[in-house]
Amino acid sequence: MSKIVLKASHLKKYYGSTKAVDDVSFELCEGEVLAILGPNGAGKTTTLEMIEGLRNADSGLIAFFEEGFAPSQVQVKERIGVQLQSSSFFRYLSVRETLQLFGGLYAKQVPVSELISTMSLEEKEKTLVKNLSGGQLQRLALAVALVNDPLLIFLDEPTTGLDPQARRAHWDTVLALKKQDKTIVLTTHYMEEAEYLADRIIIMDHGKIVASGTLEELIASIGGKDYISFRIQGLESLPSALGTFPELKDTGAGLFELSSGDVSSDLARLFEYAALNNLRLDDIRIRRPDLDDVFLHITGRKLRD
């Protein structure tokens, strides 16, 4: 069994009467990638910052590694790497100088040239931070988080604001770290990011953990059914005759969605019914349920709302 590298128990953080984090507990095993997913204001960043030692928890316990170190202890700081939600570095230092400055703060350092190469920043190594693009800044931020060759990496919404290409490049880097058996905690409000990168997902809403598990476990928890969506030519709303399909929903704008435990049989049934009633089905799609469906099922809201 893998070693537990982080244990957070009953974390609470209040700002006045607002419960930013409300009784959050989880464990993290060595080599695991954990995604904390939730909409803006769910308490993801506050949870992470308490773990990183940047905020004090009002109550609860955080213990790192087998020794049970507290977040503020130097033994923790030396072994973790943090990419904050908004990275701000010294504007008038170059990429290389920034990495040298941060590297100098740790006992163990990865050679700066190696980091520059890993993050594909060779062409920008002499460029001042103030002149970097958003994507380049994020790459620098990740490079800085890796400057001490950390065992445990925290990435707080690492791809927010990046274009799809830069986001994909960032994901590839995280997957490469995963292959090196790094333990990673990332927060995100992109369900695709959590689905693509994480071994385990925690879903947070209003400061609480509302669900957790692997992607399969979470989907199974809401029934695990697939969805068949389609349009009916000439119809904008659901005809009453289709009432024989109890799990059919009108999602608006002429698009209907059928929750299906057996796609082939339900599709056959649907085509048969359409033929009998002279209805022409159009734009038929089948999709697997995703984290948005899980979030919708649990909270009644869409994650993207």
Partner: protein
């Protein structure tokens, strides 16, 4: 080692900013140049003017008349001297010490008890430029008078030999050139600029931008960060002071004690006091903009009401109380005293204790808000 590496990087990151480079290093030099060039020549456009004290003999001898004529010739309208009659040397020298007179001339009668003395004594203050120049002019004037007397008199006459007698007085009321006088003001302005602008703005900026937050995820401790911040400020001020000293020493040839231990010690006291004051501003400002406004207001008040450029002790009491409250009033006076000039009616104890009181108060306020200023919960 970690503190040194971080402090060095921190300093480089800041000094590359145009605003920091300009206001901390370039502007003080420009200001010093302009103030010396413009205000240094105020009052020097016309002929030089000297205050002359005269102690006459009680006789109406030829010699006395010749001396009288010589003094009248140099103190007529459009002439450089303005003569005042004194009854004794003590009161004349006293006036000279109080900077009311530049030079004193005494006529010693041959028949008098002081007959062993030369006919004319010229008393001046050694080291005071105006006094030395006035004495030289008078010696030349009396030498000419000798020639005139010799030309017009066929008789034997006592040569009007003059003896210049330098008077060494304590530097208490020494007058100095404007380029010397302004040096402490420019040096203090630079320290004010670094302490009241750079320091609080830098602390607020890195706190609000999240740089501090990132730094505190590393093993760097808040005290180490603060140490690096102080190192950065000190390095900036020392570089700027070196440039100012070079300008004052090599270009303006300032001699009035700016290299003395008292002057340099006072500069360090000023650095400590004003940096501490700047840290207090940082601890009272939640936002960068607040730190900027507070710093600007305090900077202007401390500079204009601190007596940097003009006397402030003649101001009405409605505003003079502020003069007495400011640490810069005492610091600039302390620096000038180290140069041998007294320009404010304040005792030495107050000159040291008021800045010290500000230093302690500011340090206490900052310490109480240390974690907030660092942005570390």
């Amino acid at each position: 080692m970690r503190l040194w590496n971080f402090g060095k990087g921190f300093f480089i990151a800041e000094i590359r900013e145009f605003e920091v480079l300009f206001w901390s290093l370039v502007f003080p030099l420009i200001l010093y140049f302009f103030l010396s060039a413009i205000l240094g020549s105020v009052g020097k456009g016309g002929a030089p003017s000297f205050e002359l004290g005269v102690i006459k003999s009680s006789t109406n001898s030829m010699e006395a008349i010749a001396i009288e004529k010589t003094i009248t010739a140099v103190s007529d309208a459009d002439q450089p001297f303005k003569a005042t009659i004194f009854s004794d040397l003590t009161s004349a020298v006293d006036s000279m010490k109080r900077d009311k007179l530049d030079v004193v001339v005494i006529h010693n009668e041959p028949a008098s008890e002081a007959s062993s003395k030369p006919p004319i004594e010229i008393h001046f203050i050694s080291g005071r430029e105006s006094s030395e120049v006035a004495a030289n002019i008078l010696e030349i004037a009396f030498a000419r008078a000798n020639l005139e007397i010799a030309k017009h008199s066929g008789q034997e006459f006592r040569e009007l030999s003059s003896e210049a007698i330098p008077l060494k007085i304590s530097a208490k009321s020494k007058s100095i050139a404007y380029k010397d006088y302004i040096f402490p003001s420019v040096a203090l302005m630079m320290i004010l600029s670094v302490a009241l602008f750079n320091s609080p703005l830098s602390l607020s900026f890195y706190r609000s931008s999240g740089t501090n937050k990132k730094l505190f995820t590393t093993p760097l401790k808040p005290m180490e960060y603060f140490g690096a911040h102080l190192f950065k400020l000190l390095a900036t001020m020392l570089i700027s002071l070196t440039l100012l000293y070079a300008m004052a020493g090599f270009i303006y040839r300032v001699k009035s004690g700016i290299f003395s231990a008292a002057f340099i010690g006072t500069l360090f006291l000023a650095m400590l006091t004003l940096v501490s004051f700047g840290l207090m501003i940082a601890s009272l400002s939640r936002k960068e903009s607040t730190a900027g406004i507070l710093g600007q207001v305090c900077y202007q008040i401390m500079m204009f009401m601190g007596g940097f450029f003009f006397p402030v002790f003649g101001l009405p009491w409605g505003i003079r109380w502020l003069v007495y409250m400011l640490p810069t009033t005492y610091l600039v006076e302390l620096l000038r005293r180290a140069m041998g000039v007294t320009s404010a009616p304040i005792g030495i104890v107050w000159l040291i204790s008021v800045p010290m009181a500000w230093l302690i108060l500011s340090a206490v306020v900052f310490s109480m808000n240390f974690r907030k200023v660092m942005g570390n919960e």
